[in-house]
Symmetry: none
Subunit: 202 residues, 2 copies
């Protein structure tokens, strides 16, 4: 990465600070005020330099149109949902009980969220009550995947198997029975997503 002049570094630091503290980028005049200079022309040149050196991206014509190209953090903040509703592929806002950051490497594609695990039906797969399951939203699954599915309006965490003429949701706990869904029996199953990670706080 190309080197920055001290002045350019100050500008970049200010932009990062703004994003951190107020949640949106500064205007040219905000930056000018911080540097105690007047006018916006010098600032534009700084931004041009920062863009040329690959630190930021300017979005011409939009106010506060500055984004960092530097990986600001190698992580992404995802909502923790306490419950999943039948039918909706994305978690409802009112079910969000907080946010939790996770390494970007865990997010291959598609929308993801954390689901707070309830019950002990997956105990033999080392998934305990209270764990955070990282769920990647997807409508289908491969055999053997651990999925979040809604069945008659209730959400469950189970292993998924699609067989000849029925679908099997298998718990990882001998105290629970397989759930068998045959076509045309009125039972409605819809897959919300696949579990791709587990986080437990001890």
């Amino acid at each position: 990465m190309e080197k920055l002049t001290p002045r350019q570094k100050k500008v970049l630091e200010f932009i990062i600070g703004c994003l951190d503290e107020q949640g949106y980028p500064p205007t040219l005049r905000d930056i000018a005020g911080y540097l105690k200079v007047s006018g916006t022309f010098g600032i534009m040149k700084h931004l041009d330099a920062l863009e040329r050196k690959g630190f930021i991206k300017k979005h011409s014509g939009t106010s506060r149109g500055i984004t960092l190209t530097l990986p600001p953090s190698r992580s992404i903040s995802l909502p923790i949902v306490g419950a999943v509703r039948a039918g909706s592929p994305h978690p409802a806002v009112e079910d969000i009980e907080g946010f939790f950051s996770i390494d970007q490497s865990q997010l291959k594609s598609g929308a993801s969220f954390f689901l707070r695990v309830k019950g002990d039906s997956m105990i033999n797969d080392a998934i305990l009550e209270g764990d955070l399951a990282l769920v990647r939203s997807q409508a289908g699954a491969e055999n053997g995947n651990i999925v979040v599915a809604t069945l008659d309006g209730e959400a469950t965490l189970k292993r998924y198997y699609r067989l000849k003429d029925y679908i099997c949701l298998r718990p990882a706990n001998p105290n629970y029975d397989d759930i068998i869904i045959r076509e045309g029996t009125g039972k409605e199953i819809s897959i919300i997503g696949r579990v791709v990670g587990i986080y437990r706080s001890l």
Copy 2:
């Protein structure tokens, strides 16, 4: 948290999406365009409602002056170590096999790192081979804590119990025996840290 109308929810989701994708909040007209309505007045009322219900904060008089009150929690990048060396409280640089970000909330105090779990000795505590154990460096532990300890130069993950005249390191697997360390028997134990979290990638 107060309930949102479907329309307000769409607005909130759009704002979150903008922040996620472009790095800065939308303008009133951006939101209007997304909702396919004309004019900005309706949008202002939505934002007022969202602010009244505590979901966002408006910064009057500034363009794109919207911030989420739900604070996206920050995260910290920690080293993943594949092995722990006896004696050294901090993992050696040469043992670092990568970095992994985790939510700041998991880091109460002190230096921490991830340890790649080897073996199945903690299987009944739902800790599997290959899991990442979040370890907080500390020299002592409470009874019952899961700790990383080095014993005669080898690192292990076990539950820790300090009894009258000996220390017990107990696996969570019936196939393994307790490790008993009595004072003055030449066995050297040192506690590297306590396991405060587990992450598993599926």
